[in-house]
Amino acid sequence: MLNLIFLFPGLTLLLLCFFKRQEVVRWISLLGSILQLLFVLSLLSFYLQDVKLINASTTLYESSLPWFKTLNLNYHTGVDGIGLAMILLTAIISFTGVLASWNISLKPREFYFNLFLLSTGAYGFFIAQDLFTLFFFLEIAIIPKFLLISIWGSGKHIASANKLVLMLMAGSAMILVSMLGIYYNGSHCFDISVIAKNGLPVKVQQILFPLLFTGFGIFTAMFPFHTWVPDGHSSAPTAASMFLSGISMKMGAYGCLRVAMALMPQAAINQAWIFLTLALIGVLYAAFATVRQTDLKYINAYSSISHTSLVLIGILAMNATALNGAVMQMFSHGIMTALFFALIGMIYGRTHTRIVSEMSGLQKVLPFIGTAFIIAGLCSLGLPGLSGFPSEAKIFFGSYAADGHFIHLITIFSILSIVITAVYILRMSGSVIFGPLSNEFSPLKDGSWYEKYLIVILVGTIIFVGIYPTWISDLIQYGVNNIMLQIKDHSVAVVPHGILNI
């Protein structure tokens, strides 16, 4: 049943091959993404029912097909709470991404095709239970990014696309190498649950963990491998920015959690301090860098680095609450940043500038977009009642509850980010949305229907999660329990043996 997740994206991709006109392809894409969203929602409700029946947190809807028998490669899929939260995020962003690129006129069919290919990769990645399958879908999602940025991008888009793909490929290479290391030093298979159950020798973990974590870390924009983010996001077309920072960066964090942490908990405990330090630097450094930015997209890109580094802190704290908060933050930040990029796209489409100092007082002519912009900003700076607040609070409380003075200090310093975030958010919205309106902007028109739908959906999700965070936190908890069990089982028991044999 789970593999039906590819049904609607696949059908849409197929249909897109036969049509070319903008009016047709955008409706096909919209329909496809709506059906997919409905499918994901029903999957969610089935999962919530079934998981209560089983009364245990395991991976559900598993299916396995042999892919390449001699190497023990299987197409093994299944979901748990964490995966489902990410799938829901992907579905929402795909849907709103189609709305955000409603007016794309340059090669619309190819544009939507790439968009759907990207989301297909993401779905596959989040349901994969097998390292090889996971890697396969991770790679599928890279190429469309390159095309989207280099063909539909703006500014120095070719250079940005090259940089993005090269850095992500470097990350992929690290992941591939460590996958092979895991394969040969473990159970000679790629199945995540089997590897987790058998465990890996500590010596192997010590070598492979940093490689794997850095590999996925590049996707998550971990300091100092974050430089693809600002350039990539700012050159990309709106929908691609939404995907990049809404889903792509989360794929990295998901990999860090699901693969690096869960398979190599012992090394994770030993080396957490290195990555915690990097993540803390990322949180503060990116926040300070944001303060100096003048371009709206750069502001949001740097702020994304800061927010996702917070996710890494939550993951590395290795505490159920912090993990839960980290995944919530992935979801919440995904929605928020997609909203931000969509709004920036709308503003840019009207004012033809993204430079903060060139805009002023847009609230007067664009009340709808302006209000949404303020709400997105307030979510970013962690206002209660919006989704960022419970997520960040969970990360802070969770990592403060972890043992050791080091992690306490990391937590306290990372809280400094809530002040810096307030500074840049208010600087940005203070001059773009508020202030006196200049004459050149007075004839601007407020959002059209598809823009309003997009805003309502994303803002609605932000508010819903903010007011009633328990539903998503409970959903995530099913997955977190699963991972915590794996971590607990093997955090001490593994006996080191022999040398690393790759």
Binding site: K163, L166, M167, F223, P224, F225, H226, T227, W228, Y285, F288, A289, V291, R292, Q293, N319, A320, T321, G361, Q363, K364, L378, L381, G382, L383, P384, G385, F389, P390, A393, K394, F396, F397, G398, Y400, A401, T411, I412, I415, L416, I418, V419, A422, V423, L426, R427, G430, I433, F434, G435, P436, L437, P469, T470, S473
Partner: protein, 638 residues
């Protein structure tokens, strides 16, 4: 206790926010205002009924706290739960009445005052949001719930200060207010983390049970940190810093005077009566913990409060913008409330607790009255500057009377409300700490002086030029006069409430009143008033001679001790230029530069290697032979 009515008290303003915010255009301005006022009126009536039922039942003279309802909102791990709920005890009931009363007065007042404003419905939506958030804060049963209300009042204040968003000064003031208080909130959050991890809960009653009992601290075996405090004390200090930001204590006060950019009724509600006392309420809420587990922090609190009250009173004497004078006066009075609480740091003196809450109550009434009256004056004169005013007593006889009542109340002249609460605070200070007592008495004298300077400059000081400038008749609306009248009656009568009977820390400790302290306080107030009369009763050269005799000292005070400039230096030169700018440079040139270098290096390498695959057979042959040779050598050597 009826939990439905308690839920309704904050829920009604929230409903107003949602309705007016989403459907303001459909509802229309007039209806939006009436809807908001009606809902808050119901909240007020419900608060009164809760106060009545709560204070009707007493157990040996004490009123036990009740928790009518609470529910789980989010879990932060074992025992650390965020529960939203309501706690009903003396101080929360008192705050319920203060918040809903002042909010109702401001709602009514704004119906006329904000008339003709285009975004009238939005204004009422924001007022609703503020009232809801403040009530959420006041009713908090959980310290994290308090933090949530705390952040929400902060953002409502931001939205309302920046209500006239096309005015750059308003936007700047709103940003400043938000960022300064946010900086303090960071400490609050860290404090919550520390205290909750020591106390094992976020629930306030549980925390008080674990940490706020005599001797509770000894069971915890807390080590001392490098300053010599326990980590609990550090946590409690951080929580207080959060409160100091909201309550505009020195040195986190710089946002409050600028916040006067907002509409005047907003200043009355948020920046005089309710939100700015949140810090006082926070310390009062956790008072047992401070009292028993961290008396050294209470002493710090006392000094911070006393210093702020004198500091702000000195500045208030030199300012000309009437709203700013009132803002500094608010700071000064909040300093009073704070040091009154802090007096518990000496011999566990708990009279200050009652006195502080009493002063909070009376101050809310007369300060809201002052702000609303100032609003009427500003509308009439079209200026905030008291030098543009004068001789208004003939034009506005009603306003003259209510303003005088408020001034007498804040100056501490019996039998007006402020006298009773101030006298109680000074009595406690006399018992606890002489130094703070002296600061308090000095402040009392200055308060009387600057308030009457303000009053006389507006309503007397028969200037020559101001007479002809405002020959129009001030329009007076019953919607504005009604709240003024009600608050004036409150400012006259509130002192007679037997406050100590209702709100006290321990029923068995009787309050003592020292006649000589009362006499000193009254004497200071009267001499302050007399000095003001001497200088400002009529237009004269006396203020100018006074200023020139003070010389540069006056300039320093007038420039508010240059604290703003210090902050500007800190943020501009240090944060922006010495941190953010270098980081931006490093990111662009070093971090990204390294990545570029890697790419360029591989490009360079690939160009070199490319040469090998030239398609030239001779080259291939050469490589082949060289490889064979190498293998051969390897084989031999092994």
């Amino acid at each position: 206790m009826n939990s439905l009515s308690i839920i309704l008290i904050p829920a009604l303003p929230l409903a107003v926010f949602v309705l007016n915010g989403l459907f303001g255009k459909v509802i229309g301005n007039k209806l939006a205002g009436i809807l908001g006022t009606l809902c808050i009126a119901i909240s007020f009536v419900l608060s009164l009924s809760i106060a009545y039922t709560f204070f009707a039942v007493s157990k040996d003279g004490a009123y036990p706290a009740q928790i009518p309802f609470k529910f789980d909102w989010l879990q932060f791990g074992k025992g650390i739960n965020v529960q939203l709920g309501a706690i009903i005890d003396g101080i929360s009931v008192m705050m319920l009445i203060v918040v809903t009363l002042i909010s109702l007065m401001v709602h009514i007042f704004s119906l006329s005052y904000m008339h003709g404003e285009k975004r009238f419905a939005t204004y009422y939506a924001f007022l609703g949001l503020f009232t809801f958030s403040m009530l959420l804060l006041v009713l908090s049963v959980n310290i994290f719930q308090m933090y949530m209300g705390w952040e929400l009042v902060g953002v409502s204040s931001f939205l309302l200060i920046g209500f006239y968003y096309d005015k750059p000064s308003a936007v700047a003031a709103a940003k400043k207010a938000f960022i300064v208080t946010r900086f303090a909130d960071m400490f609050f959050l860290v404090g919550i983390l520390i205290v909750s991890s020591i106390g094992g809960s976020l629930d306030i009653p549980t925390l008080i049970q674990n940490l706020g009992q005599a001797g509770a601290i000894d069971h915890l075996h807390l080590g001392t940190t490098f300053i010599g405090w326990s980590s609990l004390s550090t946590g409690l200090l951080f929580i207080f810093i959060g409160g100091a930001g909201k309550s505009a204590l020195f040195p986190l006060h710089i946002w409050l005077p600028d916040a006067m950019e907002g509409p005047t009724p907003v200043s009355a509600l948020i920046h005089a009566a309710t939100m700015v006392v949140a810090g006082v309420y926070l310390v009062a809420r956790l008072f047992p913990i401070y009292l028993f587990s961290a008396p050294e922090i209470l002493r710090i609190i006392a000094y911070a409060g006393a210093f702020t009250s004198l500091f702000a009173a000195i500045i208030a004497c030199t300012q000309f913008d009437i709203k700013r004078v009132l803002a500094y006066s608010t700071m000064s009075q909040i300093g009073y409330m704070i040091f009154s609480l802090g007096l518990g740091g000496w011999n566990q003196n708990v009279h200050g607790y009652t006195a502080s809450m009493f002063h909070l109550f009376t101050h809310a009434i007369f300060k809201a009255l002052l702000f609303l009256s100032a609003g009427v004056v500003i509308h009439y004169v079209h200026s905030n500057d008291m030098r543009d005013m004068g001789a208004l007593r003939k034009k506005m006889p009603f306003l003259n009377i209510v303003f005088l009542i408020a001034c007498l109340a804040i100056a501490g002249i019996p039998p007006f409300a402020g006298f009773f609460s101030k006298e109680m605070i000074l009595n406690t200070a006399w018992e606890a700490n002489g130094f703070i007592f002296i600061l308090g008495v000095l402040t009392a004298g200055l308060t009387a002086f600057y308030m009457f300077r303000l009053y006389l400059s507006i309503f007397w000081r028969d200037a020559i030029n101001s007479e002809d400038k405002h020959n129009s008749h001030p329009h007076s609306s019953w919607l504005e006069n009604l709240p003024l009248g009600i608050l004036a009656i409150g400012a006259m009568m509130a002192g007679f409430i037997p406050f100590a009977k209702f709100i006290n820390f321990d029923v068995h400790i009787d309050e003592t009143s020292n006649f000589s302290v009362t006499a000193i306080a009254i004497a200071m107030a009267i001499s302050g008033i007399l000095l003001a009369l001497f200088m400002y009763k009529s237009d004269s050269d006396r203020p100018r001679t006074m200023v020139s005799s003070l010389g540069s000292l006056y300039q320093i005070i007038y420039k508010k001790f240059y604290i703003d400039e210090v902050y500007l230096f800190f943020t501009k030169s240090i944060v922006f230029n010495s941190i953010a700018k270098p980081i931006q440079w490093i990111d662009k040139n070093i971090v990204d530069g390294f990545m570029q270098l890697t790419a360029n290096f591989s490009l360079f390498l690939s160009r070199k290697i490319r040469g090998m695959q030239s398609g030239n057979l001779q080259y291939y042959m050469m490589f082949f032979m060289a490889g064979l040779l190498l293998l051969f050598i390897l084989c031999i050597s092994i």
